[in-house]
């Protein structure tokens, strides 16, 4: 009987010799076997269930945006490192990473990753991985998911209380690259005030299956789409018909400005694809612009 309290269920991600425990606030693991009933003429009931596809799983979790980690010299959390690496990779073949929670583990491929920043609040992130299985490294790791519920101690931390200096915070994060500046119809320049922003990237991947085995031979990343939503008080009614590709460097700062550490994400050649405006009772008019990029 496995009854494991949350304090023993750290979410850990391992890749290329680096293991990082994320400050996850929730985690969900799904596992599906695609069995379908078989019907034939002359028989009212089904003949039984047969596999109509491979077993696949997925894991998703939200976590506090830790930014003082370092993965192979790249500052920030390991998820951000993975997303950046995949986004900018030249080749398509992905190796996957080991993802563990509560004793269940799998060799996962990053499906999506995102974070947000809003004034006077701790930034939170989210990530999801797909599990396809079928890899020989580590040896025997062929099923999408394995393990049973067991508690485990995280590999970081102590019992002393401390101010969280390694967590991105809206108090010190400006995301100045997202400020909207408008100069038309008159020359008076107007620069927007940024109230909140969220970033997300999703990856499409293509597991390659061969006859004679359930799990894929390899998994390819095919494309990535990136999106930023920024909440401001300036409305750009002069939205470009053809788009205006711009790089948007996002710098997330922590509570401790002396830590000299921050996490960076750069959207390459992003284009604004939408502008909306809304207002409600007892609030100012707020606008939202949506910027996307594709890789």
């Amino acid at each position: 009987m496995a009854q494991v309290f949350y304090d023993k269920t750290a979410v850990q991600v391992e890749y290329d010799g680096v293991s990082e425990t994320l400050l996850a606030t929730n985690c969900t693991i799904n596992y599906n076997n695609n069995l379908q009933p078989v019907y034939v003429l002359g028989n009212k009931g089904s003949l039984g269930h047969v596999p109509a596809g491979p077993r696949v799983g997925d894991i998703s979790f939200d976590f506090l945006t830790t930014i003082t980690g370092e993965t192979h010299g790249y500052p920030g959390n390991i998820i951000n490192y993975l997303a950046s690496g995949i986004k900018h990779s030249i080749g398509s073949s992905g190796s996957g990473v080991l993802v563990k929670c509560a004793g269940i583990s799998g060799w996962g491929f990053l499906n999506s990753y995102g974070f947000n920043a809003q004034s006077n609040a701790v930034s939170t992130s989210n990530a999801s991985f797909g599990f396809f299985g079928g890899f020989d490294d580590p040896a025997g790791f062929t099923l999408p998911l394995s393990g049973r519920i067991t508690g485990s101690d995280a590999e970081v931390g102590s019992t002393t209380a401390a101010v969280a200096t390694g967590v991105a915070h809206g108090r010190y994060t400006t995301l100045a690259s997202l400020y909207t500046t408008i100069t038309a119809p008159d020359a008076a320049e107007e620069i927007g005030k940024l109230f909140a922003a969220d970033y997300s990237i999703s990856f499409a991947h293509n597991p390659i299956y061969m006859l004679g085995q359930e799990t894929p031979l390899l998994t390819l990343y095919t494309s990535a789409t990136e999106s930023i939503n920024a909440i401001e008080d300036v409305y750009n009614s002069g939205l470009s018909y053809t788009g205006n590709a711009t790089d948007y460097p996002l710098i997330l700062e922590s509570v401790d400005l002396n830590a000299l550490s921050n996490m960076r994400v750069t959207m390459i050649s992003g284009v604004q694809v939408g502008a909306s405006l809304s207002v409600g009772l007892d609030d100012i008019v707020r606008t939202q612009k949506t910027i996307t990029a594709a890789y």
Binding site: A10, A164, K193, L194, I284
Partner: protein, 278 residues
């Protein structure tokens, strides 16, 4: 050596004007540091969650007033000036220490009086700037308050409602709520702007020892309620010199209550309410 600080060593100065007639001052803040919780937690860490603000409460007897028209103020009660959109800063002196605060906005203003009392005002304010013993800004020395006594009195006030010709008013209160909408942006702890919200809600409450007062039929309220113009004028004690005037148009009767008891006179309380658009 342990000491104590008594009222003679305490004072508050707002926008370089000393406040007199102060009965009580209180200010407080609560840190917004909250523990971070996560799966597999092994360490308690704290991080700010939400905007840091503080609050200030001030109760004063209306014994001293600003010189009429002085410093650009229209009302004679200093705190009443801050029901608009301007903030105030101040210093609270206690003993040899000073407590500074900046960017305070009035949220509620009340004035009340009962028989036998000096009218008093009560205010609550929210502090969006700083609060503490540090020096946050360039401060001029706190001026001494030159104003002489201008004591308002229950015995020399005027209220213009008809009921009071035959029913004895025993107390009144005027409560003004001024909503504030702070606008926070990324990268800053204090709001970039504090919008003076609208509408301002005004409640006027009266208590009467009654003679021929007629309670309205509750089913006629509010359709057949007569909207009232209400004016309360506070004058200098034993004189006809007007010190403060509270005047509101088209107030709606929103509640009435009746009390009778073996040891008391029959009494009525009623509330009038109006909203003022900025």
């Amino acid at each position: 050596m342990l000491g104590r600080i008594r009222r003679e060593a305490e004072k508050i100065t707002i926008n370089n004007s000393g406040i007199q007639g102060v009965q009580s001052i209180s200010t407080q803040y609560e840190s917004v540091a909250r523990p971070l919780d996560n799966l597999g937690i092994t360490e308690i860490q704290y991080a700010p969650q939400g905007a840091q603000t503080a609050s200030l409460q001030l109760n004063t007897l209306l014994t001293n007033t600003l010189p009429s028209g002085g410093a650009g103020y229209t009302p004679l009660d200093l705190m009443q000036n801050f029901t608009g959109d301007i903030p105030f800063s101040g210093i609270i002196d206690y003993g040899t220490e000073k407590l500074y605060f900046t960017q305070a906005y009035l949220e509620t203003y009340s004035v009340s009086c009962s028989i036998g009392e000096i009218p008093r005002s009560s205010t609550t304010s929210v502090i969006f700037g700083d609060l503490g013993t540090g020096l946050f800004d360039s401060w001029a020395l706190a001026s001494e308050v030159p104003a002489g006594l201008n004591v308002t009195s229950y015995s020399s006030m005027e209220v213009n409602l008809d009921e009071f010709s035959t029913n004895r008013m025993t107390s009144f209160s005027v409560d003004i709520a001024t909503p504030r909408v702070p606008i926070y942006t990324l990268g800053l702890g204090a709001p970039t702007e504090v919008i003076a919200g609208t509408p301002i809600e005004v409640n006027v409450n009266f208590s009467l020892d009654i003679d021929d007062y007629e309670i309205k039929n509750m089913r006629f309220v509010p359709e057949q309620t007569v909207f009232r113009d209400t004016t309360i004028t506070l004058k200098k004690n034993n004189s006809d010199v007007e010190l403060l005037r509270y005047s509101f148009d088209n107030m709606l009767l929103t509640s009435e209550s009746f009390q009778a008891g073996v040891d008391s006179n029959a009494a009525i309380n009623f509330n009038l309410r109006s909203f003022i658009l900025r």
